[in-house]
Amino acid sequence: MDQIETPMPQTFRNQPAPCQTVSATEWELAAVEAARGRFELFSLWATEDAVHMALRQHVSGRMEMLSLPLTDGAFPSVAAQHPAAARLERSITDLFGHRAIGTPDARPWLDHGRWGIAAPLGAAAPGPDLAPYEFLPVEGESLNQVPVGPVHAGIIEPGHFRFTAQGETLVRLEARLGYTHKGVDALMRGASLARGAELAGRVSGDSSVAWAWAYAQAAEAALAVEVPARALYLRTIMAELERLANHIGDIGAVCNDGAFAMMLAQCSILREEVLRAAEVAFGHRFMRDRVVPGGVTHDLDSAGRAAIAALMAHLRIRFPALIELYDGTASILARTVTTGRLASEHARRFAAGGFVGRASGRDFDTRRDCPYAPYDELTFSVPTRDDGDVNARIWIRIREVEQSLALIEQCLARLPEGPIFAPCAPAGAPRAGLGLVESFRGDVLVWLALGADGRITRCHLRDPSWFHWPLLEAVIEGNIIADFPICNKSFNCSYSGPDL
């Protein structure tokens, strides 16, 4: 084994999710400790009669799950102590109608007053007309506001941004999202395991593999399924191809927002070549519906193997040339260096996942720190930086591309023989499982509860962007309005993922 570190063994990895039922006081205490940094808030969600929190102990790295039964349909607000919980909590109220006592922000988040019903996962009663959304008040001299969206100029997901500027300098950005809310939580309820996998793979289109894998992990943990080794290696190849495609494409897109179109053209060629290899190897450019509970649906044949091997060799030659191009062009560096700096303090408080956190000193990667097979058998490093600007986020992604290449090569070299699927039989009793996978954007979390018949009673899907969006708002302060696109692209938050 080439494992370098020995992280905390995580019990949720191979058995039904352990869950502690706590009192309201303990719940509030956990929120306070999360705000103080003893725990990192990984997610906050609801079921019909309870609310749940996933926390990671900062020192030991252990994942904990707390559950609090509701009292008269209410629970003590976590956001009142810990701002990172705010939007998750507002969504709980929107979807279930559970009230957060003491919440600092009682505005709806996902509910725009257009569904015709209120609390679709709770009472689902006919919805009252909502008052127009109130943006946070701004006070000061010679401020002007620029409202943008939900429809933007480019080919991009919809969301509304309210900029407040003093001259050219931004003093506040407030995002309003929820436009792509599709009601996935409700569609999941009562769905079969297979239908759930289809939905999970479509939470955020650029992270199909990561989402499907996290969902599969949750199901496999709940049902105690042993996944064949070959399937795990194939999942890794897919997940790393997905990371490559996104990182390479986005490096080009960030540079394009800094008016360096040549990087976009060159990176888009490489991205296309990754997707084409994925299609040859796994039969779909985004490898969608390939990862399912129990294993994978598509084996790698010799043609697929050759295509991936050829891609790796090709990228090893082409990619360094692009990095040289980026690093040697002063005009793009002038746009990326010192722009959009995220303080490491903020990254830590919000437990920012992925390259956003790692570019601001948060040294966490699910693959290493909450390891899942087969990453515990593979050699890779987790790059981090402290400068936290657009340039740092680009460099983290460059380094991660190199790691992904190495990981895929290792997987090809060691690919075990054998079956690629193990059936998942219903447990005959209610079960729940937790899945946590490192997508290109950061950790995606799935909590899945199954009934005795194996049907889904609740599936909670937490996208990394929940914690990135508020940080982007913080980052933008003091930058000029014209730098918003490049800052925004350097985060590349998902809209569909958190809107669900």
Binding site: R202, I269, E272
Partner: protein
């Protein structure tokens, strides 16, 4: 940078051959107009995400990479609906996006076409039946062409748009 520019001069272009006529003709137009091919026409496209998972957008983006090079056909993306002939809509049309979609369509000058992209754009795809979606672009706007797939490949998108180019010529003549 010089290296890349020089290489661009010396290397064969990556751009691939256009989809063939039978492929284009095979795209069924909802309006049933007779296709009339005339090269040199151009269409301005406004893309709108009405609640997609972003998968369709990624493939629409790919149309601009050198392999497909959409602009060689006179097709290009525009920022304002006021400059657009075609509204290219993705997603199961979420209720939270319905008004934005209608207003974007209303802002376009006549004549105009609507293309529904992806299985979601066709009928809501795997999100159909949710309280939060309308279910397909045609639930909100008159649709001229559907390009199915989850997501449709860039080639399928290109083929669909070229078939529209023909039909657009018919509608205008």
């Amino acid at each position: 940078m010089r290296k890349f520019l020089l290489e661009g001069l010396l290397r064969r272009p990556l751009t691939e051959a256009a989809p063939t006529d039978p492929e284009i003709a095979a795209m069924a137009l909802a309006t049933g107009q007779a296709a009339r091919r005339r090269l040199g026409r151009s269409l301005s496209i406004r893309q709108l995400d009405a609640g997609s998972c972003n998968g369709c957008e990624l493939e629409i983006h790919a149309l601009s990479n050198p392999y497909y090079d959409l602009e060689r056909f006179g097709l290009h993306f525009v920022a304002s609906p006021r400059h657009a002939d075609v509204l290219l809509v993705t997603g199961p049309v979420t209720k939270n996006m319905t008004e934005a979609l209608q207003r974007t369509y209303a802002a376009m000058p006549n004549p105009k076409w609507v293309v529904a992209v992806g299985d979601c754009g066709r009928d809501g795809g795997c999100f159909a039946g949710s309280y939060a979606v309308e279910g397909g672009v045609s639930a909100v706007l008159p649709v001229d062409l559907v390009i199915p797939g989850c997501p449709p490949s860039p080639k399928a998108l290109l083929t669909g748009l070229l078939s529209l180019l023909d039909a657009a010529e018919g509608k205008r003549a």
